[in-house]
């Protein structure tokens, strides 16, 4: 089903790298992942048996390769949020601001799991532990930042669904 095995191998490495950066140890069998023009889809046996290669969307969309950079889907982030990964859990106000593309301040973080160091990437969850997106830690979370200084930079948030439709 792969259009190009070499390209698909690169894509599988991109997704693997991304998951490792988040501190995740899960992996997907490449036989269950389809590559459609740089977009990766995780499919089960039933879908595999009944699909044709000219599909537009199939199973669980995992993300895509945009100029060598892996852009995860919210499905993938959701799967990872149920596993042991880097996470920051934020309060209601910060959650609201985050889905509008804003960064996160230290005082709005309720809990941190996994890597706390500058440069790491982390999932962002609300107080119900729903995954809202992910970001990059830009100030060590175990240190006290200056007032008004963001500590997690927003990379992708759920508001993307609304922005895509515009």
């Amino acid at each position: 089903m792969y259009a190009n095995l070499e390209e698909s191998g690169k894509l599988m490495n991109l997704i693997k790298d991304f998951m490792q950066k988040l501190g995740s140890k899960i992996s997907f069998g490449s036989e269950n992942v389809l590559n459609k023009k740089g977009k990766l889809f995780l499919i089960n046996k039933k879908l595999h048996e009944n699909s044709q290669s000219n599909f537009f969307y199939a199973g669980i969309y995992l993300g895509e390769n945009k100029q060598g950079k892996f852009i995860p889907s919210f499905n993938l982030l959701f799967i990872l949020s149920k596993q042991k990964t880097n996470k920051v859990i934020i309060d209601k106000k910060a959650a609201w601001l985050f889905i509008y593309g804003k960064d996160i301040f230290r005082e709005r973080i309720l809990k941190v799991e996994g890597d706390t160091k500058k440069g790491a990437i982390t999932l962002v969850l609300n107080n119900f532990e729903d995954c809202l997106g992910f970001g990059e830690i830009i100030f060590d979370l175990d240190k006290k930042p200056n007032k008004g200084e963001a500590v997690v930079n927003n990379i992708l948030d759920l508001g993307d669904f609304l922005r895509r439709e515009k």
Binding site: Q52, A58, L158, F161
Partner: protein
């Protein structure tokens, strides 16, 4: 006679006195993603006032909301889909959905595809087709947002569905139609009998080709949001006469389908379909079909 009066007069012949209405906004809970009580608690806490739709299991009318219900965290997490009350009815007519092979023949923008997946508990297989690429993108976003995992989507005309080489247990034909005046202020000026008849022809072609892909004991649900009998009762009368199909009895909101249309007597079983005139919901027509044995 104005075009508006012409159509209003037709509705009167079918037993409905025209009223200009604005249907209430509604949503449907995606039960695969959240327990209804939990969602309702969260939304009420955010100031959203809701009223359960009496004829739907997972449907609610939005009575009042401080913010757009299409932009809440709960919406973006796929806990619910904005979907008109009447348009939630067709999928609810299918029975025993778990593990089934389902064709959603005219799927975009995907409200009913997600509803199918929710009823199926993300089991089995949905093949979703549409011929409009832009609308398929909206469908893909909808599937991603609602964590749907059992669907394959093709940019494909359902009139060619035999090329899929699959037989389906359930087929939803939410057919492209002329729509109705509640969705388009200019509807009466834009529509003519000629294009209604053209849509009716397309709908018959869809019925023919989709019936070819139906498993022997499968179910077809046919629906439109048109109020015009050419796209509804007359098509169902034609289908049972020409496609070896019969109409199933259904229990749902709406009035019996018309069996006398502008002087033409239709098969009595067409009354088993449901015609939903605009009111608290938008206008709709639904009918459930199976093969004759």
């Amino acid at each position: 006679m104005s075009k508006r009066d012409f159509f209003i007069n037709r509705y009167k012949h079918l037993g409905w006195n025209f009223v200009n209405v604005r249907p209430n906004q509604a949503f449907r809970i995606n039960r695969n993603n959240i327990e209804p009580e939990e969602l309702l608690r969260r939304l009420r806490k955010s100031g959203v006032k809701l009223e359960q739709i009496p004829f739907l299991k997972n449907g609610y009318w939005i009575v009042q909301s401080k913010t757009s219900v299409g932009a809440t965290v709960e919406y973006l997490l796929g806990f619910y889909s904005i979907q008109g009350a009447a348009s939630q009815i067709p999928v609810s007519l299918f029975t025993k959905m778990k593990g089934k092979k389902v064709l959603d023949a005219c799927a975009a923008p995907g409200g009913k595809t997600v509803q199918l997946a929710d009823l199926m508990g993300n089991t089995g297989l949905i093949v979703a087709l549409d011929i409009n690429k832009r609308r398929l993108r909206a469908l893909a976003n909808h599937l991603e947002r609602c964590h749907i995992s059992n669907s394959i989507v093709y940019l494909f005309d359902a009139r060619q569905s035999s090329l899929l080489n699959l037989k389906f247990d359930r087929i939803l034909i939410d057919a492209p139609c002329s729509g109705n005046f509640t969705m388009d202020k200019n509807w009466f000026n834009r529509r003519t009998i000629k294009d209604i008849k053209q849509n009716a022809r397309l709908q018959r072609e869809l019925l023919i080709k989709c019936t070819d892909c139906l498993e022997d004991h499968g179910e077809i649900v046919y629906s439109t949001c048109s109020l015009e009998p050419e796209e509804n009762e007359l098509n169902m009368d034609w289908a049972i006469a020409n496609l070896n199909l019969r109409i199933d009895k259904i229990e749902c909101y709406g009035e019996k389908g018309a069996i006398s249309v502008f002087g033409k007597k239709l098969n009595n079983t067409v009354a088993r379909s449901r015609r939903i005139w605009p009111g608290k919901t938008q206008g709709f027509f639904v009918c459930k079909l199976r093969r004759k044995w």
